[in-house]
């Protein structure tokens, strides 16, 4: 081993340890993060625990490798998935080190590359290592061969190394391309989010279509299976009942992976040098952009000060779309639910779409500008709080900005579904209810956001943005989607005469309205109070 390589590996180990330690400290920095961590552990831990008996049974019932469902596609998908994950994480987060001036004047870029990759592997192992180990031990216990977890780790190691370095090189290439082509970068930010939404929603429809249309899924997947990868994966079961004769392909895979790893590392290092040293001044996409005409809000925003504040928020949002990154949470939660409802809708497609659109408008009304008001205003707070503008006006500005985004969707989209079978009465009723719920969501969101503001920017698609707390976003999704679904369903049942409005129904609706209005108004008052009592730390 050359002196340079030895030196780089030593530095890389130090960088990897430091980066990993910093991550751990970030995860556990305050109560909010610990709470989020506890919820994640409960969620994934519970899911793992529930899965263990099934995996144990799978191991017990497995007679041959081929008898395990989808083992071939899985063996093919693992390296491809690891490569894609590495490339995605590089684009999203790892494309440049923190404090590059310090690291790049102290050590060689190769050491930084290896260090960053090593830290990321350690982070992934921390998040997913324990559940994976637990599942593999359960499978091994079922199979009666306790060597499987260790053998599986040895088998996956060369492929993981290959995927890590080539994924990093691929991610850097994408970042380089995005830097060279700023217009593509802007498009990728919007398009990437849109593609993710299409992927999530599309996958739901595709899965359902595959089942209902009785597609030959197995033959499709077997066509996508790479034989040598399956043979190689089978090496993890040597000496077990699932053992099968080794093939040349099984040996070629690790040899190729190990041989290509240094090549990938060289490519990644070269890519890092090009990216980190070629253009030293990080310039935002719109650094050369200009504006003319001053701050002149159009009507109706111009009528009141809160409207002009709302217009300012909208203009800034359009110019920096990364601040809307948190909205991506919505399709992940709604798509599975939405497609199930949609597939069972039969002749009620129109009303369902009307309700869904109104619900989406409700979500946007609060989520777009309301979930991190203090964090969004963090830099301007010394200015804002020392002006004659009241805190109430500041919060209302966010409310109006959100309504300007979500309100038209809630108001107009239900009417657009009339050709799909929604009766005019139902469309108008859902539209009116949607607008009302938009106002409620607009009041609710700043209160939730002010309860736990996030002030630090975080990496998002190669840029940095201050986005709301995930916990706050999830709580908001729960209340806005759940609450608006209840309200809109009730409205639809009432106007279609599926629900007779007796005393009990009237009381239930009244309770719903009072609760919705009361909680939302309380949240709004809380947000105003947080602004009023805010003090700079």
């Amino acid at each position: 081993m050359s002196t340079n390589l030895r030196s780089d590996l030593r530095h890389a180990a130090r960088i990897g340890r430091a980066e990993y330690r910093r991550s751990l400290r970030r995860y556990t920095r305050d109560v909010r993060r610990l709470l989020g961590l506890a919820i994640a552990v409960l969620f994934f831990g519970g899911y793992t625990l529930v899965s263990l008996p099934s995996v144990l049974f799978l191991g017990r019932s497995a007679r041959s490798l081929a008898s395990i469902p989808y083992v071939g596609p899985a063996a093919t998908a693992v390296p491809v998935g690891l490569l894609a994950l590495a490339a995605f994480r590089t684009v999203e987060r790892l494309g440049a080190p923190d404090e590059p001036d310090l690291l790049l004047t102290a050590v060689h870029p190769r050491a930084v590359v290896i260090g960053l990759i090593g830290a990321e592997i350690a982070r992934l192992a921390t998040w997913f290592g324990l559940p994976l180990v637990a599942l593999s031990i359960a499978f091994a216990l079922g199979l009666g061969a306790l060597t499987v977890p260790l053998a599986a780790a040895l088998v996956i190691a060369p492929v993981a190394c290959w995927a890590a370095v080539w994924g990093y090189a691929l991610g850097l290439a994408v970042l380089w391309l995005l830097r060279r082509l700023p217009s593509v970068r802007r498009l990728a930010r919007a398009g990437g989010v849109l593609a993710l939404v299409v992927l999530v929603v599309g996958s739901q429809f595709a899965a359902r279509y595959a089942v209902e249309a009785d597609l030959p899924v197995r033959s499709l997947l077997s066509a996508l299976t790479v034989g040598p990868l399956v043979d190689y994966a089978a090496l993890a079961f040597l000496g077990t009942p699932l053992e099968r004769p080794a093939s040349i392909g099984a040996v070629a895979v690790p040899v190729a992976a190990l041989a290509l790893t240094p090549v990938g590392l060289a490519a990644a290092t070269r890519g890092a040098e090009v990216l980190w040293f070629a253009d030293d001044v990080p310039r935002s996409d719109d650094s050369g952009a200009t504006s003319s005409g001053g701050f002149d809000a159009p009507r109706p925003f111009a009528w009141r000060k809160s409207g002009r504040i709302a217009w300012g928020l909208l203009v800034r949002g359009v110019r920096d779309p990364t601040s809307f990154g948190h909205l991506i949470v919505y399709p992940f939660f709604v798509a599975p639910l939405g497609t199930t409802i949609l597939s069972s809708s039969r002749d009620a497609l129109g009303p369902l779409l009307a309700g869904a659109a109104a619900g989406f408008g409700v979500y946007l009304s609060g989520a777009t500008f309301g979930l991190n008001p203090l964090g969004d205003d963090r830099r301007q707070l010394p200015l804002l709080l020392l002006t004659a503008t009241s805190e109430r006006t500041l919060v209302r500005g966010r409310l109006f900005a959100g309504l300007a985004v979500g309100g038209p969707i809630a108001a107009l989209a239900p009417l657009a579904t009339i050709p799909l079978g929604t009766t005019p009465l139902a469309a108008v009723a859902l539209s009116a209810a949607g607008v009302g719920l938009c106002v409620a969501a607009g009041f609710l969101a700043p209160g939730l956001g002010a309860a736990y503001p996030i002030y630090e920017p975080r990496e998002f698609w190669g840029g940095e943005a201050v986005v709301p707390s995930t916990l706050v976003t999830l709580v908001y999704v729960f209340f806005s989607v759940g609450g608006s679904s209840l309200g809109l369903l009730a409205v639809w049942y009432v106007v279609t005469s599926h629900l007779a409005v007796g005393a009990d129904v009237a009381v239930a609706l009244a309770v719903y309205v009072v609760l919705t209005a009361g909680v939302s108004y309380g949240a709004y008052r809380y947000a105003v109070r947080r602004y009023r009592r805010y003090s700079l730390e």
């Binding site: 430091a18 004047t105 060689h108 040293f277 030293d280």
Partner: protein, 261 residues
């Protein structure tokens, strides 16, 4: 202190040598034909108005950016040869490069490790500097809780821990209280006396007057004046009682085409 071995091939060369350095970003010219030759042990005050290209120059001189044209050698080593140039330079950017999740001691031990300073020597230096910069009492607190001045001092210590041949300091006294600023000024002088070359970019002209042997003034990407602070004051010819500030304002408001030496 830096290597003083006369047999070393790099010791005969100037500490910093830039030849016809040019940097462009698209159609914007950030630096236009900058040439420098700074002898060892010099404190070189690098002045210029905001946006003149000072930070770009420092990044080119440290090898953190590639010039569009021209070349840079630091202590005789091509700045593009990162492996060779890394031990020779220390760079303190305007924003202190610190990890807020670490304490000052952890940060400095980490930097020392990356700089290959032997552990015992690193600990001895860290303790000495922490004490000197009044950071010893807070050395185990996380940097996230530090004041701006404490962060600046910690970063400065991290920059000099490996006792480089050439120190590049971008506004090192910015945000510091008078005592800490004086400590840094004194440190700069001591480093220079020990043979270290200090390339000092700052807007605080009294600091430059106090420590700089040579001054260069950059304006719109070009070196418009260079010389000792006294010579610069004289050549500015702005009348009696001329200060470096007067000279600076004179040369950056009516720049000459060529370097005024």
């Amino acid at each position: 202190m830096p290597s003083t071995n006369a047999d070393h091939p790099t010791n005969a060369a100037p500490a910093i040598e830039a030849v016809d350095l040019r940097k462009t970003y698209g159609s914007t010219v950030a630096l236009d034909g900058l040439s420098l030759s700074i002898p060892r042990g010099t404190v070189y005050g690098f002045l210029g108005p905001n946006g003149a290209g000072k930070t770009t120059t420092m990044r080119l001189l440290t090898g953190l950016a590639r010039p569009t044209a021209g070349g840079v050698r630091v202590a005789g080593v091509d700045a593009g040869d990162r492996r060779a140039v890394a031990p020779l330079v220390g760079y303190l950017p305007e924003t202190p490069p610190l990890y807020e999740e670490f304490s000052a001691r952890e940060q400095l031990e980490y930097v020392a490790d990356l700089r290959d300073v032997p552990r015992e020597l690193a600990r001895e230096r860290i303790e000495r500097y922490l004490d000197r910069f009044d950071l010893a009492g807070d050395a185990d607190r996380r940097i996230a809780g530090y004041s701006k001045g404490m962060k600046q001092k910690t970063a400065f210590v991290g920059t000099v821990l490996h006792e480089p041949d050439v120190l590049f300091l971008d506004e090192p006294t910015s945000g510091l209280d008078p005592r800490a600023a004086r400590t840094i000024r004194e440190s700069i002088t001591e480093f220079a006396e020990g043979g270290t070359t200090v390339f000092l970019s700052t807007h605080i002209l009294p600091v430059v007057e106090a420590v700089a042997d040579e001054v260069g003034v950059l304006f719109e990407g070009r070196l418009v004046a260079e010389g000792s602070p006294g010579a610069l004051r004289t050549r500015a010819e702005t009348g009696e009682g001329t200060t470096l500030e007067d000279a600076f304002l004179a040369v950056t408001s009516d720049p000459q085409g060529d370097v005024d030496r």
